[in-house]
Subunit: 555 residues, 2 copies
């Protein structure tokens, strides 16, 4: 392809993944074609009380539903596939990905009873698919899950390379290293824009090979020949599990896999040939008791201290089949994701109290490219424009600085926000529009029925509890027939605060009496007077601000 000036422009519309780690989703639009790269969920932030997960707002896709040609998925992690079952209901379109990625998506579709309604297609590395006026090529990369892909998106306006989540591992546990030659070849052709993973852009150096963790396992197993070994790691890190199994096999130990998501992922990976388990190595947890403890290894979920995961239940003595015993060696093969530090520390404390030795040094490597790998990507791809993706603002900024240090002109580094629409081509780019974008909260089966007001109420209830004041009035005479009664929850121990509650009752009685004497007949006003007087009293007396909810019934 000879380079020539191209007057066309393609639209890039990120719908998530730029304000946080998670909820990755980007639409690419050209005339009547839209393709969507990834469709991830995010975990709720600390102030989203009671929320199970967050999915991207896809109003823009719904409004352009006829254009949407398909979802192209880079790999099988939750922050790239987790919103699919929700989004596909509103935006039905085929899903494309590599074999393991599609396998993990199918697990989700089965759970949501959507196997029959969603078309999906497995693509191999090196292959391309045509969707509308786009051609998308899958390029082999490395990551903390097998079968991860970067995408080369060929549009009439030029080639966009999207790395997905990636690292460069020259000695991966399974399959090939990242296809650096293909990145170089594309770079030679001329790449319009590089959208590159920023997760580790603040970290200097190079992420170590997954194999280094295997060496650590070897030496831990060699040192602890007389102990049961329990390894907790991410369910989706199939290569990590493979290495644990390899070491276990080498030392003649039987392996138990425990934890629902671990069992699921290993099952799928094993079926599809992404993990190789020697015969007679895997045993059922029910048979654990038939083996000497030093002849066994448990691979389990819970490395992030998640309270319902298998390791946490073992640590808290709530696991039905495994009790931690003195001498047990527990390997935490992960680092805490920010926000999980205290939960992980709690699990370590509980395990230590039961006499286990907890090991978490050199037992994990990241799945994301550090600064030197990001620079390598830039020097292969040599894009005209840089659009940092996947990260909080500080991560995107760090990649921006790396891009500039690699010779990308400042004005060609584009820091986007979710919902921004840019039109980009050889001649330049402009922010053309901003469309609706953001997080939709999922709570139980409810999608989007919890929003800011409900959350604010939950926060207030969480901090201070609630006081309900109920009274019954006679409809016509406005006479007080019953109450005011005071009921509280989450406020104080009523029995130990009798004086306070009596005084509160008196305050409310007076407020109501005052209203009736003054013939206040507007219920809203009566409620406000009750609320204000009780609220004043409690703040003066206790410096607390419970939610106060007056309810008036009429008879």
């Amino acid at each position: 392809m000879k380079k020539e000036t191209n007057h066309n422009k393609v639209k890039i519309i990120p719908l998530g993944g730029l304000e946080q780690i998670g909820m990755n989703m980007t639409a690419f639009e050209y005339e009547d074609s839209i393709i969507v790269v990834d469709c991830g969920m995010a975990f709720p932030s600390d102030d989203m009380l009671g929320i199970d997960l967050v999915i991207p707002d896809v109003s823009y896709l719904k409004n352009n539903i006829d254009k949407v040609k398909g979802f192209v998925i880079t790999h099988g992690h939750e922050d790239h596939i987790g919103a699919l079952p929700y989004v596909l209901r509103d935006v039905p379109a085929p899903v494309y990905g590599t074999k393991l990625t599609i396998g993990l998506i199918e697990n989700k579709l089965k759970e949501h009873n959507m196997m029959k309604t969603v078309r999906r297609k497995v693509v191999k590395h090196g292959q391309s698919i045509n969707l509308g006026c786009f051609r998308i090529e899958f390029i082999k990369t490395n990551h903390s899950i097998a079968d991860a892909s970067a995408l080369a998106i060929f549009s009439p306006a030029g080639i966009i390379v999207h790395t997905g989540d990636f690292k460069i591992d020259y000695t991966p546990v399974f399959g090939e290293p990242a296809d650096l030659q293909r990145f170089a070849e594309l770079g030679k052709k001329g790449v319009l824009a590089l959208m590159c993973d920023s997760t580790n852009a603040i970290r200097p150096g190079f992420t170590m090979s997954e194999r280094t963790v295997g060496k650590t396992f070897d030496s831990i197993f060699a040192e602890h020949k007389n102990n049961r070994i329990i390894v907790a790691t991410f369910a989706s890190n199939v290569d990590r599990v493979q290495q644990i199994i390899n070491t276990a096999y080498h030392y003649g130990r039987k392996v138990v896999v425990e934890g629902r998501s671990m069992v699921n992922v290993i099952g799928t990976a094993s079926e599809l040939g992404y993990i190789n388990i020697p015969e007679n190595t895997l045993i059922d947890i029910e048979h654990l008791k038939n083996y000497k403890k030093e002849d066994t290894v448990l691979i389990t979920t819970g490395s992030q201290g998640e309270s319902l995961a298998a390791l946490s239940r073992m640590a808290a003595d709530l696991h039905k089949k495994v009790s931690i015993m003195p001498g047990d060696v527990v390997i935490l093969s992960s680092t805490p994701i920010p926000g999980n530090e205290k939960a992980v520390a709690r699990v370590i404390n509980e395990l230590s109290m039961k006499g286990a030795e907890v090991i978490n040094q050199d037992t994990h490597v990241s799945g994301h490219a550090c600064q030197e790998e990001i620079k390598l990507m830039y020097s292969l791809v040599r894009p005209k424009f840089s659009i940092p993706v996947h990260g909080e603002y500080r991560h995107l900024m760090a990649q921006r600085n790396l891009a500039i240090s690699m010779g990308i002109p400042k004005e060609n580094v584009i820091l986007m926000r979710s919902g921004d629409v840019i039109e980009i081509g050889d001649e330049g780019y402009r922010v053309a529009d901003h469309v609706q974008a953001g997080g939709i909260l999922v709570d139980g089966l409810g999608i989007g029925d919890v929003g800011n007001i409900v959350l604010r109420d939950r926060q207030n209830l969480a901090q201070n509890g609630i006081i309900i004041v109920v009274l019954t009035l006679e409809k016509y005479s406005n006479q007080l027939l019953a109450g005011p009664d005071i009921v509280s929850r989450g406020f104080v121990y009523v029995r130990e605060s009798e004086d306070l509650m009596e005084e509160a009752q008196r305050i409310v009685d007076e407020a109501v009496q005052g209203c009736l004497e003054k013939h206040v007949s507007d219920w809203g006003k009566i409620k406000n007077i009750i609320r204000d007087s009780l609220s004043d009293f409690l703040w003066k007396k206790m410096k607390r601000n419970p939610m106060i909810l007056p309810i008036i019934m009429e008879v």
Copy 2:
């Protein structure tokens, strides 16, 4: 003192500090004398919704109030002095500490209006005080606050050395290095037990000198001569502030101190001579506008991402007097305390978005001894018994292993829990008793009126919200006069869930109607039927579990 077998035993009773970092407090008892070392508060854990702080349960001291001779405080950090204003109300006794420590305690007493009722006495390093049958000597140590002390507690049963929080800094910014010779001298005499800080016992090596941070400041200031510099650090780290001021002075910059606790601590430290501020260096925040930005430095609170602290308010554009501008350099001179990582990341993101450069490499050193320093302490003091203190279980375990590696016999390392009473002497020790101990929750002005049931309600309210069902019944006929009305808070957007709420109303109507038809007259039963039917419906329909609170009024 000639060594001789001592048949006496002293009681050691930790009342906090052994299950967590924080709430440090230990009682020492011999016959009719009790002394109390430290009286700290703890920050609430994540599940203590709405709680402001946690103080130790001092029932044991209240029950033995006649014996309590005084509080001996090792240094002025909140986790060692924060509970004093609460505890002193129930257990009035004189307070002893070094000059800065007493100064900071007096700040608290003023706030609580207790200056007149609490006796206090300043003790110098090297001096001793006599309390009952105890003699307590204050020994100079280093820590992240000036004037920190270890204590040598001379009891009829032997000498107990309590390190308090400490590190070894051979080149401290203010005052002398730790008095290693005195520790050695005591060791020569024969120390019964060492109670040593475990906070960093899991970290190998040696904690760097505070001065290394000063060097980092120097090079950052040298590199950013054209930028305003904002440094956030712990208010209590007076030496850190001194170094920032030194560097600012060296580069001819004016200094503004911002944030309530920062202003308080620096004020006290300056009055007492623990910080040396060159003339014409400090300026009022009101005068900031009169100086070029590159001629100023702000020292501020908020290095932990605390939402109400000055730096967070600047980052969120909520600060009345300081706006972050592009080019500003913000130094975070601290590392996040576990649990604060996400809050700190949020502040960094917000600062970056406003164009500030955020620096947090090599800008902090810990105030606690790492493994080599702990070993040094053991080799100087050579105690007969080791009682690891200050830390979670995993930290205490790590110190236990260090003690054993230093030659303390396994059976002489005593892992205590708060409330344990040990009797210890030359001939050995035994766990003699367990007394009431634990955390008392402080919420606003209420102390201890929030406990497990209230917290469980708050957690439930936080996760799911509340639905209140009110109805009015005729007293004698049991006729339904009004309702059932449904009111919810923190559950769903009612307007967007009309169908659901209508269905819920129908379910409740049917439940009430069913009760009345069957002449159920037990209100408890009616309430249960309402609760169960609504709860079933919501779980089936939404997979949610809000608190359901039926209220029946009678007329």
